[in-house]
Symmetry: C2
Subunit: 314 residues, 2 copies
C-alpha cells in the first residue's frame, strides 16, 4: 500500500505518494489559488494527486489513505478544516469534498504537527517514546507526538508552541497577545531585531554581509556574523539562544519528551545553534542532575510536510 500526503501552503500545494516507511516515491504540486470556491480548490488538489499517482506507477487500489497538513486548525471528528487564516478557510468540509474525487479515508492536521509526525516516523525522532518538533521559520510552529500519535489536544487547538508566552507584557504578537515565543525565535524576529541593531551599529559586519541594505538581512547573515564574533551579531545571537532555550526549558519542565527536534530555516545553522542551546538548557532546566530531553536538528527538511501528512493514515 501507499499513502498520499498533501502539504497545503499559502503559495503552493505539494503532493506526494509515500510508502509506509515514509519514503516519497513520487511528487507533484500546484499553485495555491484562493480566488476560486473551496470545492474547486479541493478538486484541483485531487486532480494533482491522481496525476502524481499515475506518474508513480501505482493505482487508486494501492492507496491506503489521503492525508493533508494545513496551516491552521482541523477537526478530525467532523473532517472539517476549522480555521486557516492565510487561506481564508473557516469551517470548510475538506474530507467530504476530497472523498467526492478520491473515496479513501481522509485525515488532516496542522502543518507543523504533521512535520513533527514525519520526523517521528522517518526522521530524527524515529522510534522515540515522545517528541516535540519546533519549526523556526517565518513563524514558530509546533508538533507534538506522544506514544507514536499526534497530540493536538481535545479541541484541536494545541501544539501551537509558537504562542507559548515567554515574556509578560513582551513583544506584541500578530495573535493579539504579547510575549509569544514566535516573536523571539522566528527568522522574522531575528531579522526585525537585526534591522533595529544596525541602525545603532552601522559598523556591524551584518551591514557588510547584507551589502549595506538592511532589507536584505536574513537569519543566516546574522548567525554568520556572530560566528565571526561581530559584537552586534553576537548580542542578537545570544538573545535568540536565551529565548529559544527558555522555551525549550518550559517544554521539558512540562512535557519532558524523549527528543526535541528543531526544524525550519533557522535550524540550518546546525551545530552552531544546537551547541549553544544545549549548553543553555542544561543550565536552566529544573532537575539539573537528572536526564532530560535530547535536543536535535530535524532531518527531513521541506519534505517533512508531505511525509507527515501521508503518515496520518498509518
Amino acid at each position: 500500500m501507499v499513502y498520499v500526503g498533501i502539504d497545503v501552503g499559502g503559495t503552493g500545494i505539494q503532493v506526494g505518494i509515500v510508502d509506509k516507511e515514509g519514503h516519497i516515491l513520487c511528487k507533484g504540486g500546484i499553485v495555491t489559488r484562493t480566488d476560486i470556491p473551496f470545492a474547486d480548490q479541493v478538486k484541483a488538489m485531487a486532480d494533482c494527486v491522481l496525476d502524481t499517482l499515475a506518474k508513480s506507477g501505482y493505482t487508486l487500489d494501492d492507496v491506503a489513505s489521503v492525508g493533508a497538513g494545513v496551516p491552521g486548525v482541523t477537526d478530525p471528528r467532523t473532517g472539517h478544516i476549522a480555521f486557516c487564516p492565510n487561506l481564508g478557510w473557516k469551517d470548510v468540509p475538506f474530507r467530504e469534498e476530497m472523498r467526492k474525487h478520491i473515496d479513501k479515508p481522509v485525515y488532516m492536521d496542522n502543518d507543523a504537527t504533521v512535520a513533527g509526525l514525519a520526523e517521528s516516523v522517518a526522521g530524527v525522532s524515529a522510534g522515540t517514546h515522545s517528541s516535540v518538533f519546533l519549526t523556526l521559520g517565518t513563524g514558530v510552529g509546533g508538533g507534538i507526538v506522544l506514544g507514536g500519535k499526534v497530540w493536538s489536544g481535545f479541541n484541536g487547538v494545541g501544539s501551537e508552541i509558537g504562542h507559548m508566552v515567554i515574556e509578560l507584557d513582551g513583544e506584541p504578537c500578530n495573535c493579539g497577545n504579547r510575549g509569544c515565543l514566535e516573536r523571539y525565535c522566528s527568522a522574522t524576529a531575528i531579522i526585525l531585531k537585526a534591522r533595529e541593531a544596525v541602525k545603532v551599529h552601522p559598523d556591524s559586519l551584518i551591514m557588510e554581509m547584507c551589502g549595506g541594505d538592511p532589507m536584505k538581512i536574513n537569519a543566516k547573515i546574522v548567525f554568520d556574523a556572530a560566528k565571526e564574533n561581530d559584537p552586534t551579531a553576537v548580542k542578537l545571537f545570544r538573545r535568540y539562544v536565551m529565548a529559544l532555550s527558555q522555551g525549550i526549558v518550559s517544554i521539558i519542565n512540562i512535557l519532558d519528551p524523549e527528543v526535541i527536534a528543531l526544524g525550519g530555516g533557522v535550524s540550518k545553522a546546525g551545530d552552531f545553534l544546537l551547541e549553544a542551546v544545549r549548553t543553555e538548557v542544561a543550565k536552566l532546566v529544573l532537575y539539573k542532575a537528572l536526564p532530560h530531553a535530547r535536543i536535535e536538528i530535524a532531518k527531513l527538511g521541506p519534505d517533512a510536510g508531505i511525509i507527515g501528512a501521508a503518515m496520518l493514515g498509518l
Copy 2:
C-alpha cells in the same frame, strides 16, 4: 479489591485505603522523619498502611496495589525515587524497600501529578479526554493526565508546570532560573508582593485585615481586600490573574486539554478567581473563535494526594 494510597509530604505522611471509584474508606498518618535511615522511613510507612488496613476491616488479600505520591521525581522503570529535595532522598529504592513489608505491586509518582490523577478519576475532570491540574499553594505544582493516564515524560521530569518560564529575566526562582510561573502564581508570591506593596501603601485594607502585621498577610487576605475594592489589593489581584492566565494560555496553546483544574490553597478563592481568569484567558488564547479547555476549580482538596496515589494502581 482496595488500593493503598500514600501521600508523602515534608512534615506528614497520610495513608488511605481507597476503593476503585476513588472513595477513601479509612485514613491514617504518621509524622515525616528525615533523621532515620531510608529503609526505616519506608518501614514506618508500611506499618502505618498495615494499621490503617486493619482498622478498615480489609486484609492484605484485598489489596490490589500500593501507590505513593512524593514531592519530587520518581523513576517507574527502576522503582526508585530519583530526587526529593525536601526529604533529602536521591535515587532511593522505594519499591524494593516497600515490598519487603507489603508484597504487592508498588507505584509512585510526583505529588501534584497524582493529585491531578485523582481529579481525573473522582474529581472535577472525571471522565475527560485530558486534563491539566495546577496546585496553587506554597509553590505551583502540575499534573498532566492524557487519555486517562498520567504523563510525566520520558525521563519522569515533566509536569513541573510551576517551572514554565513566563518572563524572560523575570523574578528569581529557587530552582536557579528566572521568571518561573511559581514565582508569580503561588501563595508565596502573593504574600511577598503584598508585603512589598503595604510598605508603600500602609493605608491599604490589607494592613487592617492582617492586624497591622505584614507577616500575617496570606493570599486570602489579599483576595478578600480586592473583593472590597482596596486599590492596592486590586492591583495585586490583577497581576496575579494576568500571570496565571498567561500560564494557562500557554498550556492551552501547547496541550489544549479538555479541562484545566485549579487546586491548592489559592483556589479556595473560587468563583472570584475563576471568573477573572476565564475572562482573561478567552481574550488571550490563540484561536479566539474556537472552543478551548474549560477552566474549573478542583474538587477533592487535600485528599487528592491519597486518592491519586491509590489510583496509580488502577
